[in-house]
Amino acid sequence: MAVTFIHTADWQLGKPYSRIDNIEKRAILKNHRFESLKKIGELAEQHGASFIVAAGDLFDSSQPTREDVSRACDIIGGFKRPVFAIPGNHDFGGPGGPYSHDYFNRERECRAPNLKVLLTAEPVEGEGFVLLPCPLLSRHETGDPTEWLRIPGLADRFAGKARIVLAHGSISTFGTDAADDDEVGGHSTPNVLNLEMLDPSAFDYIALGDWHGTRRADSHPCAWYSGTHEPDRFPKGDDYKSGQVLLVQARRNSAPVVQPLSTGRCRWHIMEHSVDDADPAARFLAAMNATVAGHPADSTLVRLCISGSLSLASASKLERELESQKAALAHIRIKDLTTTTPTDAEIARLGDAAVNPLVAAVATKLRQMAAGNGAEAVTARAAIRELFNLAHETRA
């Protein structure tokens, strides 16, 4: 008998997006994680999933706010099917974690009675399946949470039922991936799961959490990371996919059938753009539009590396365009490698020696200084821009 269910993890509800300066945009991004959650319920309904398993890190913090708890329970309660969750390292199951709070338990009972948080490592049987949870009770588990699954004969008790493991942590074949990342999120504390120690034939599906991209774990033939339902970082490579859940069909002694379904609202783009003096602002805008591809700006995040050489006027225009993008997008992080070199015409306009002898003399001097490569040249180039802007303002 096959069971169909949805595997999800790392909701990280309440994630504060600390690196984003603008408070309102942080709130919007935080909101997206809740809105995307609703999509999971819809997909479950749409694909006839019997239940949903959430493999840890439902909440971003061990002490989520009451608002976040209530809102999460409210949405989960609307899923109309059981949701089985284990605590992860962010929302660990022991004392101090969110599931030990009375408020959570009251809200769960009241708003999401379908939510079962599995806090003990013991089998939970259902029709055609048995869940084998490996909860994290503290943030740092020094032992392997899946160790208990190595007890000989454990799985034999559930003849014919699909054996589904729930676990949260990294696997030895790949490490954590957050330390050098641009955005915080999606990394694992060293709760290592030694899946290769498990009998490959004893389990039919291993639902993993902690890695925020969707991927199959190669240390076990039927282990998968679903990734987070709402992307929260810039992709690390071309094969990095997040903002998905997995629709799983599992059966005893059969390979699972796994299908990713999209749930995320935000798009995280890495963009590299090179400019020259030929209408750089317009060309940058075109490139940006091509990247964003019509996706709403309030759920688009861009990491931009921009380079090239610009005239003073072009640099000013590009600057204005970037300011516009900064205001519109949910977030843009700019690595500005452009250099500004005033044209002769600009220099001439900046100071006609006959009309403005002082500014002209200063501009000429700065231009000489800017020709080099050292720190002085960098300062001189910046000074030219400043002079240009101030002269412009003064004239205005």
């Binding site: 600390s18 690196r19 913090s61 061990s62 002490q63 390292n89 962010h90 660990f92 022991g94 101090g96 974690g97 503290s138 943030r139 740092h140 020094t142 954590t176 957050a178 330390a179 990342d181 641009d182 915080v184 999120g185 990394h187 504390t189 060293p190 006959a354 009309v355 403005n356 002898p357 002082l358 500014v359 003399a361 200063v362 001097k365 700065l366 960098v378 300062t379 001189a380 910046a382 000074a383 821009r385 400043e386 002079l387 101030l390 002269a391 303002e393 003064t394 004239r395």
Partner: protein, 908 residues
Amino acid sequence: MRINKVTVRNYRILENLTVEFDNAITVIGGLNETGKSTLFEAIHRGLVLDPQAGGQVRESMKTAFADAPPEVTVEFTTGGTRYTAHKVFSGQTGRINLTAPGQPALNGEPAEKKLAQLLGMEELLGAQQKALDASFSMLFVRQGRSLEHSGEIIPPAGQLMELLQRDGSAGLLASEADLGVDKVVRQAVDGHYTQNRNQYRANSPAQAANDAFATAQAKATAAAANLAKLDTLAREIGEADRQLTESRKALEGLAANLSMQRDNLARALEARRNAELAEALAKAEEDKLANFNRSCDDLRAKSTELDRAVQEQAQRTTQLTAASARVRDNSSRLSDAQAEARLAEEAVSKARCSLAVAEAFVEAITAQTNHDLLVKQSADIRKLREERALLAATHESLMPLTKKAINDIRKLNENLVGLRAGRDAVATGITLNSASCGVTLDGKEIAVGERAIVTKEAHIAVGPHAVIQISPGGGKTLSDLEDAIREADKELDAKLEKLGAPNLAKAEELLASKEEAKRKMDGIDSTLGELIEDPEQFEEKLSKSVVALELAKKALEGLLEGMETPPKPDGADAARALVADGKVQLKRAETAERSARDSCEQIRTQSEGDIKTESTLRESISGHKARTDGLEGRIAELVRDLGDETQRQEQSSRLRDAATNLRRRAEACSQTATANNPDDIRLQIEALERDEVAESRRIDSAQKKRIANQTLLQANGVNDPHEEAALAMARQEEARLAFEAASGKASALLLLENLLTQQKKLINDRQAAPLVNRICGYLTPLFGPGATVEPVWDDKNAGFKTLRLFRPDRPKEGALAVEVLSGGAKEQVGAALRLALAELSLKARDEGITVVLDDAFVNTDSDRARKLMPMLLRASQKGIQVIILSCNPREYSGLGAARVDMPAPPVR
């Protein structure tokens, strides 16, 4: 423009004055209060003052001489045309009239405009009338005020500069736009840096970014430290786990090893017990053999001993026989020796007797000699005593005859002689009645009341207050003197009689014999004292010598009695020789006697030793007999127990074999025990047990460490420390970038500001060069070649506000600010500035210009004044019309200029 002629009417002191000016230099001389400065002011006002000006200005112009308003007519040439400007300053009805040949006359406003235009200042009309007035007055130098005292160039100079710049004559310093940029740049830099530009202003973007970076850095460091701590905790748990595994494994190994070693120990102990048992058995058998052997040895020893004892007994018997023979021999020898000793004894006795006789002789002779001496002494004493008794009688009889008595007689005699002399001569007596001090007569002091006779020439010393009475004849009559002589004779005779001497010479002779007797008596006493210290003892000694002599004689008689041939020594010496010989004989006899006695004693001692030996041998022989008997008994017993020699050898062999067998067994057991030394095994077990304890402790410690670290590691905070660390790192990088951006901007602005300052100075200096060069041209005659000025620029309006003078004759002082210059130098620099400005202006207009100097050099000394001439000539050569008003016009005679003297003021 050049001023040709001026007419002033009803202007203060000037009633009606017309002065004509040279095109080059005109010197107007005049005493004080002749109206030079009034003329100066009138020319200025005739050119620039609104004729309808009222108030104080107009009041100050009025004259007391007439009721008519002040009028000034200035004739001047500009652009080749000669103009006449006539102004009447009558307040609201004041008027201007400007005429020129071939041109329509102008009045009122058109005339004013035209005049201003001709002066090149038309744009300053109207609202800027005052500025116009002031600007033009730049060319009018009032007494000593070429530069303000503060060192600032008076404001019109700046305005004139502007005018010149506008004409393009001095070039352009900075545009309004330039100044605008300069201003905003400075404002912007002010926003970033403190006033002295060496640090960021508080709350400036760069400072805020820097603070934020420092905070972010601290947080990142803290977060990284926290992570490192957690990593350490986790690593330590891993290490503890490894330790646990290793220790547990080690413990298992130790337990197995221990079990094995304990078994080994049990076996080793068993082997040791066996070895000990075997050793005991072997030892017992060996003891048995040893005992048997000892008994056999004992038997052999006893037999040997018996043999030896028998031999010894035989020896002793022989010795006894010899000893008995010696005893007998000794007895015989002793008898002989004793007889010899007796003979020696007799010889001694004889010798002693002879010696005693000799000594008795000596004694008797000595006693006799002694006695004889004492007897002789006694006779001597008696004789001396008799002699002394005679002397004593003599002495006694002369007792009254003493030295005093002789002296008295002598005095009496002298007195008598004196008396007789006084009687014989004319004698005068003096008597001292009283005196506070002495009176001497021939050096002899006279007592009060004494009477002295001055018989002949005499020397009398009389002290003060002495009262002496002088009476002829010593105050006595001749009969008195005769009486006195008789009296004195009588007294003398009485005394001689008493002494038993007929006269003084006999008396003195008797006294000498008395003293001789006394001396002899003393000599006898002394001799007697020497002879007999104590008379009683002498008597006793004498009587004892009698007794001793008797005794000695008796003793000698006693000794001699019975002697066949008694010695008869001849005198004491012979007797003493006899004694000496007697002593020699006696000593010899005593030596022979001692030798004989020693010989006896020796034989006696030897005999006693031999007797003792004999006795000892007898006892020994008797004792030995008992011992040989005992030995014989014991040997018999042993033979009975041990059997005969054959039996003994058999038994010994048996016992030896048994012991050898048992010893071999014991050695084998011992080897086994040694190979498995339980002590070694025990030590090994102890070491293993210690290892076990150490390993258990390690397990305990690792477990504790694990639990402790796990507790710390699982102390969960609200947020994931890894995420916090990553966030902190990211924030730190952001803050760093933000700081770089902010500091970059600040640096750029600062660079701009510096460049603006630097370039402005360069431009200013360049633009000021024409003016500076001209000023230098005028200063050279005064301060020498190399004299120059440096303009001090005012940043606010981009003009210069003052000058600094560099004097080649004082190079060390550098550029001197105007305010430190002397009054003279100050006015000279000011004049040079004005002439240079006029020259520049002249160049712009390409026509003449007038500079009026009204006692401008009041502080200048005569030497410097002389040097002023080339300066003024230079101005003139450059086309400047110079008008000089001076109360001392002769100073300017070197100029060869036109000269006008002010008329004396009218007396009213």
